[in-house]
């Protein structure tokens, strides 16, 4: 924290206004007030203690009153923090309700488009067919975004149970690679599984959730490889855990963006530069899943040279 950010913190009125809180309900203000009262209490105690040694009753009484004031401030601070926690919970609940409500009309839209594109009730060709495909692609993207939002709201509400069991990480990687092959081939990108199907131990976790992470890594690697290139997927057994990694030779992540990469809705400067689509939720979800699975997640990246994203996961000991 540098001096400027300390000053910004001190601009309490503006901060509290930003959160839509009155001064007496704003934790930052209450905290500052508490600090001041503590200092005043110390000074008063010192002053009275040295001056009025003969009258300890008055000194005690004043100290008692100041302590009560402190107690009241601490109490309202706790209340205000509770209020903020409640607001955050309501926000997650709101996202969850909205996302569910959006799903019904979106399903109708997707199915109607599917019928038109399938040509069941008359074939549509040429430019109109192209536009129908654009509609269908975007409906699909919207669906994926809503699914991501629902996962995020579940993570934040703590309603994100993992159904853990032993599974083959290499099979899962092969499935994910097969899914992305068509997109990769279309962009002249080769996805290679660099680990032979040897005697790797089974992984232990929720395979359907971990598949989301594996897909996210491969998806990102393919998206951010501009022009022809190679995406290398590898699995290693290391320190009693499985280490999964995806390496690309793509655009990389600028240094100043690296510390934010796992934040919700964060999108790197490169995303905007290369106009890549995405919600900024994938890596946030990946991190939550890996941490709940008892693993670690991380990356190494250099701008214009490429990135390697990795995670570790416990092995099945049963």
């Amino acid at each position: 924290m540098n001096f400027k950010s300390v000053l910004e913190q001190l601009n309490i009125r503006a901060t509290c206004k930003q959160y839509g809180l009155g001064l007496w309900r704003c934790p930052q203000f209450l905290f500052l007030l508490m600090g001041l009262v503590i200092i005043v209490t110390a000074l008063v105690t010192y002053f009275l203690g040295t001056r009025y040694v003969a009258d300890p009753d008055t000194v005690s009484l004043i100290v008692l009153i100041l302590t009560i004031i402190l107690f009241v401030i601490t109490f309202s601070m706790t209340r205000s923090l509770e209020g903020l926690a409640e607001a955050s919970r309501l926000k997650s609940e709101f996202i969850s309700i909205i996302s569910h409500q959006l799903r019904s009309p979106l399903s109708s839209l997707k199915w109607a488009l599917e019928i038109l594109i399938s040509g069941r009730f008359g074939k549509i060709e040429g430019k109109p067919a192209d536009y129908l495909q654009i509609l269908a692609d975007n409906a699909k993207r919207m669906g994926e975004l809503i699914s991501s939002l629902l996962i995020v709201s579940r993570i934040e509400q703590g309603r994100f149970p993992l159904h853990k069991a032993g599974f083959s990480l290499i099979n899962l990687a092969e499935e994910a690679i097969a899914e992305f092959k068509p997109v990769a081939i279309a962009s002249n990108i080769e996805i290679v599984l660099e680990t032979a199907k040897s005697n790797l131990p089974q992984a232990f976790g929720d395979s359907s959730q971990l598949k989301l992470v594996v897909e996210n890594f491969i998806d990102n690697a393919v998206r951010y490889t501009k022009g022809a290139g190679k995406v290398a997927v590898a699995i290693a057994f290391q320190n009693d855990k499985l280490l999964f990694s995806v390496k690309d030779g793509g655009v990389g992540i600028p240094k100043e963006d690296q510390k934010h990469i796992f934040q919700k809705f964060f999108r790197s400067g490169n995303v905007l530069k290369y106009q890549t689509q995405g919600s900024g939720l994938g890596l946030y979800i990946a991190k939550s899943i890996i941490e709940k699975s008892g693993g670690k997640i991380g990356f190494k990246s250099e701008q214009d040279k490429g990135s390697t994203f990795w995670f570790t996961i416990p092995i099945n000991k049963k």
Partner: protein
């Protein structure tokens, strides 16, 4: 004789899309938009298959499912739950109550839903 499918779904556009495609596939489709009407038509028509949404006006899908499975005349009709609720709890509850299968609308294309119906209904 063509097989009868009862479609209990309150979203009119979904009902139309699914109904049109199923009719084209040669099924006779009866569409209703609330739980009460769904239960009544099931008992009156005895369809070969029921597609059931869970969030429904008048009578929620879970209650319709329970009623259908406890009625002698309807308890053997296969029921596909077709909904956008996707929590493990809902899925387990529906299967426990006797649903044949559980499909989340958002995760399936219309063609996939139709091929599941064909598999169960023939």
């Amino acid at each position: 004789m063509s097989k009868k499918i009862l479609l209990i779904e309150d979203e009119a556009s979904l009902q139309k899309a699914l109904g049109d495609v199923l009719e084209q596939e040669g099924y006779k489709v009866i569409g209703v938009t609330d739980g009460e009407a769904g239960l009544k038509s099931a008992q009156a028509e005895i369809p070969d298959l029921i597609l059931l949404d869970l969030i429904l006006p008048k009578m929620p899908g879970f209650e319709v499912l329970k009623a259908l499975k406890s009625d002698e005349s309807t308890k053997d009709i296969p029921i596909i739950v077709l909904t956008n609720l996707e929590s493990m709890g809902d899925i387990e509850k529906a299967l426990e109550l006797g649903a044949t299968t559980y499909l989340v609308k958002a995760s399936y294309t219309l063609e996939e839903v139709v091929s599941k119906i064909k598999k169960i209904c023939g």
